[in-house]
Symmetry: D4
Subunit: 249 residues, 8 copies
């Protein structure tokens, strides 16, 4: 945004932009207002990766409208998260998409080839954590990363975790997803030598308190290099993992 | 207690005990009231093990008085928990004792030889958990058990845990003590094939919330055979471990 | 697992196993991967007892598949917990089973004769706690234990608890199940001289906060020998009780 | 207060009170403002019982001043709660008092003879609950009640509770005081046939969370006739017990 | 129960009861076991008042069965709480009852004439609290009390509360029922000179956290003579109010 | 109300009102009781603004009845909040109204022209917060205020907030509505120089805990001039904003 | 700030400011960086009122330094909150100040004459709330408001509240400060017809949970026109009250 | 660790290592046990960066001992966190160190030159957050990173944040540290295009609940690319930032 401001200031200095125009510009520029949403145009990543629509609470019509604006502005790939199968079937008529049912994600346009420094491992403690993991994995894939899935490697069966030691040791970023006691993040954090993004899930019952137990456990991890995102936030983990795997310089 | 009631009832039937006496007896019998405390006389374990005084909030004089009653009633070994060094130095004058500083426990009388089915392993995640572990270990020892200590084997350094696989596989009961994320209980629970008693500790800061994080984590353990006692309750874990290691029949 | 590693190491030494094979073996051995689940093969208990499938969130087809693998690996008895009546009717077609409706458990194969040191008492505070109790009782039975049920013996009607003093005094392990104020664990813990496994239930309303009240109450029990498992975790209590009732040596 | 308003209204009607005076009176009457406190004059109970000063956070000088106003207004007996020994020694110079150290209460003037319908039983789970119990007992005594103390009758040693069945069955009101798991209220509530006032205490550690565990437990009591006051609120329990024991008609 | 024990003991002494019979009696006597429930027979109040069935989670058939036992044991009046309209229509076929829809209570047999020392006032903060209030009011009525209803007198419209000052000043017990901020209990507690039983309700949204806000508020009431029961526990408040209004002597 | 009391007192003095009448009047006056509700008549604002019916939990018939009384008492404009579309269609038959679907509000009678000192800005962090915002906006409009809507200006896209700097700087009161992290209140509070009313919303998932996260965040705002109302309480914010925008003098 | 940006832009257009200078200016202008603090220069209120230093955690030397910068920039009056008596005695040597001990506030320079629309009432439930009230009162006074103090008017003694009905009815803003059950805000909110700013305090014990009880209670107030600030935040309430009392136009 | 295991396996195969030796090695190798601590030897980062001692709860003698082992094993640079000034003065005698007082960190040996991809920005909301920030900054520096400090740039003074737009836009990783409402992470996350590590601090009072408010706020951040570590965990943030800034490949 700094560049934009500087450009605007230069324009004023040159006399090519009036003060009133500049103030106006400042207000209108970085998004397009289509009534029910303000569509951002400035978040393009360096690799020409996907723009994202958070689908929760949006009608298929609204999603279609936002996608219209994005395509019109030259966006090739669009990721829609928290998208129901029903909605996807309506949107796909005007914007053909691939729909990933378990991840509840749709992708309009081409999925870019994997770039980035290395691989992103997505690991889960149990099978119930898989939908969150798929949201993370699809997100990372669409943003241009090679993804390795290690599902059901929970610490109560430690041999399962250890059986994948190679993948863990070779990852550039690891997303560790678990509900209940959330110990997976600590164990993987202790084995790996790369950033570990921990995702607590709301899987469980009783004293799991809808993910609170896993959340606190992960925040208290004794392993260095572990950080935490919101409960069930697979998208956030995938997005951050991609950022780490695609450093600026 | 059933036997006592039956005996009393038989006595009434035989006419050797009057109804009034029986009622009186029922009220007076199983403890001795010394004003500031009601000293129980009926908790003797089958192995002739120790009676216990919970020292927190009692003056050295009160502890001495309770010990007096216990010794007078034929108790050989007395364990005093949560006992400060200062108090121990006063009590020891009349009731010579061994004082275990890290465990904050004193033992009057002889420590019995180890009996029971097998060994009790006491494991901690970090060094800060050791005082709770020592309370558990001294308790189990005084109650007649062989104790193996595995300290600082936290899961963030998994190789430390695995290095003691033999001890873990050979234990009859394991006490897993950890603060912060409390993952130790799950990892050990997954490796062992004996009951695991998990003790959350108040060690940690921030989102550990004085042991809440470890407590919830342990309650949600995916490993079978794990149960939990109160935060920092080393005594309770040691006592229960001894019970499991000394089955009735 | 230690034995497996040692065996593998010996094999490498003997030249009968290559390093690559060993690494491969380490990864593949203790479970069979059938896509939607990794089926463990190593948890067999000493008494040839049942293997367990946690049915929650699994389709009847998935359960059938897991049972296939287990049977193929020689498992006689399989316990399926958290299994709906509808699912049981599908699975039973290929794997005939007994279905316990209140416990929501199915058992494939023969239920073993009771072994172990003594009896396991399963007690509840009220009638609403019975489903959790049945999960515990069926689990313990399938794992080869004699089970005594004491239902609706809550402490607000103390005479009901005392009426079963014999059973309580004679038990080898007691599972105390209660919602609301959870006092049952303390009262039974004070009467019994064996390990008491407390199971808080989510029964209640208002300030019971879905089992939190009973959970905290049980963790704070003044009675020695009491430990706690997760809210509504009947299976966990039954499994642990069986472990205590079947010591290794 | 109703009577006062009615009197004032009659006075206006009779012309003996002007409207301005009435409004003024309404504002000035029911308390005396001495700067640091507004001393109420209208709370006299029917039995001529004591007025109360909540001593916490008040200097001895302030307490002396409030007592001055009360005595000047004809109050015979004054109860001062949460009063330190040091403060009591200063106040006693001008207002001779009996000081109850464990209860941390002082009483100026005569303690009235016990009146009321019957006896108030004050029971505690452990010895650490005694200071709260003494606050309740002294309060009830000063308000004109016969008090029976049953200390250290916690439910983990049920025989202790049962030994006092007579006292429990014969009470008119029972105050059940306990920390930790707070089960005492339920057990006594199940045995008694009179109102039970439960007082959770902050005694305990770990998952007692400063009395929260006992509070929730008591609120969830399955026994009918049990109600709860604030954690450690011995005074409130004693005051309410006296009210119940001294019905209006 | 004390009388029963004494009677039994006398019987043994007289030789009219054998020890075995006594032990048996002790176990069988105070309740009748009908499989799905243990029906208590000993809770009869001095005024010949109603016995109570807690209807939640019981089928109409179970309720009918319990009522059968009670009637057979000579119980005239039976109160069934938390009873749905549908269930009431089935039970009423064999046990004709009056059904109170807002209170969700059914009454089999005659409602006794009001006895007791005075009147019980049932007050609510808003109209949404009325169902809880009606449960309290019907309970108190069925237990033989005169009940005065003061609904929608919340403190945000203080004039509504004050308009009923007479009723408040003349009550023998007051039940103050409110959700949201729960201030009603304090205001009424400050005006009244009789016991106030506060019932927090789960009415509200947002930061009311399903009654937690009102619960904490009521526990912290600065007014003396206030105690609290569980959230939405209208029955408990009505039962306790009746106990206070019908003292033993 | 003060004036009423004074008037009544003068009447008594003049002999035009008897004491009994006065007491009666005091009780009956400020509201009309129509059985299911006590309709307040005294809350009229100085600008002749709207009276309010809280529609949640009221039947269309009850709402119609309350509106009847209000109209009969001369109220021109009536705002009904938390009103479903279905209910509005019934009420509108006897009391024609405008229905605002997103706000879930109905308005009977004329919406007054905007008065007050300046403009009220209603800003939201995201589009999911709009229903709460509309409740606030409609409330403020009906109470006679000019309202400016700034929706979807969340701080994660700071340029959106800054684009509306003029509106923010020129507002007389700002209502800042946000779920999730609730940072909008602080950012706007730092930019504006007028009172900011923060409304946390229950929008979000996981660690938003139904609005708790936004609530705590807003209470901790470092910006001066920010205060907070209950989660999702759009009406409360709109009402308070109108009060601030219409000072008494 | 808008004006500043516009000015800067005009300057660039006029050629009196270079683009580099403008960018530099933008970064340097609105505050002065003195190492340990960034001193804001732009928060001047319309009435030439005081600038504020939050004293908590600052050394007397740091406070002196900040005050130096402020005075140098032409600030006449400076309010220092959360200032200990000891610190005040050091700062006063270079910046003579009035120190308000109970409020823990110091004021450098002249206290402005009261301006604004009307009076601000500061009311407390008890005497322990007075320090928070004084912080609010001193803040409001220093910002140019007439303040009326109503202390110890808690709702458990409703006559005290009502005795000050005139002050409450005549206020332009009311600050209602209370701990424990926090009912004061609702009662005053119901009586007043102006904005009420509720301040929960951490006064209390047990289930007050350090102000949580009062906080929730106040957020749930049924009275319209009530909003809430952080626990013990007297300054925030005083500042907001002044803002409301000094509308822009 | 994988390499070690592979090496060991190869050794066995080659006959250069016996099975017993291998098992022994596995247990002894990766750490050195010095009684009070197990010193890890395997965490060396690729850049030859520092090894870390967590100083909290360790005596100066223990720290010295651990440092001895590390130096003996060839470690050049050692970072000691949570180290008091007093302890540092003792350790420095045998292991000369630089002590960073505000960060409470000591560094033995040389601080490496900055390497890595780019710069790490450490930003705080207020001055009270600086100690946590310094812990992060010193950690990152010692691990070989260029660090830019932006302190006191809280969002309530947005111009301060914006004044540093260049630094924010040019960072490779940003550590955003804030207490109270924790909004800084969202605002910076919205401006930056690199990973943001959010550190909640326990700074604040009242409803900040020792960092809980900031923690929840940060977990709910709407900005993509934000993750969270434990409250006050400056070291964890610095360590993770360094990992991200030093990718493997």
């Amino acid at each position: 945004m700094d560049e934009d401001i500087r450009g605007l200031l230069e324009g004023i200095k040159d006399g090519t932009v009036s003060v009133e125009e500049a103030l106006l510009e400042l207000k209108k520029k970085p998004f397009e207002d289509i009534g029910y949403a303000k569509v951002d145009m400035h978040r393009k990543l360096r690799q020409g990766a996907a723009e994202v629509i958070y689908g929760a609470g949006k009608t298929p019509q609204q999603i279609t409208g936002i996608a219209d604006v994005m395509r019109r502005n030259g966006q090739n790939t669009i990721l829609i998260t928290r998208l129901s199968k029903e909605s996807s079937e309506i949107v796909t008529k005007t914007h053909p998409m691939q729909y990933f049912e378990e991840a509840r994600c749709g992708v309009i346009g081409e999925i870019p080839k994997a770039s980035g420094l290395g691989r992103i491992v997505v690991a889960t403690g149990g099978t119930s954590d898989v939908p969150v993991a798929e949201e993370a994995a699809v997100t990372a894939t669409v943003l241009g990363n090679e993804v390795v899935r290690l599902y059901d490697v929970g610490v109560a069966g430690l041999h399962r975790t250890l059986a994948h030691l190679d993948d863990i040791m070779n990852a550039n970023v690891i997303i560790a997803i678990a509900g209940m006691e959330g110990a997976l993040a600590s164990v993987i954090g202790g084995l790996a030598d790369c950033p570990v993004i921990a995702v607590p899930t709301s899987v469980g019952y009783g004293a799991s308190f809808h993910g609170l137990s896993a959340l606190l456990s992960m925040l208290n991890s004794c392993a260095s290099g572990v950080s935490v995102v919101n409960i069930d936030n697979g998208f956030g983990a995938g997005y951050l993992a991609s950022m780490i795997n695609h450093p600026k310089r």
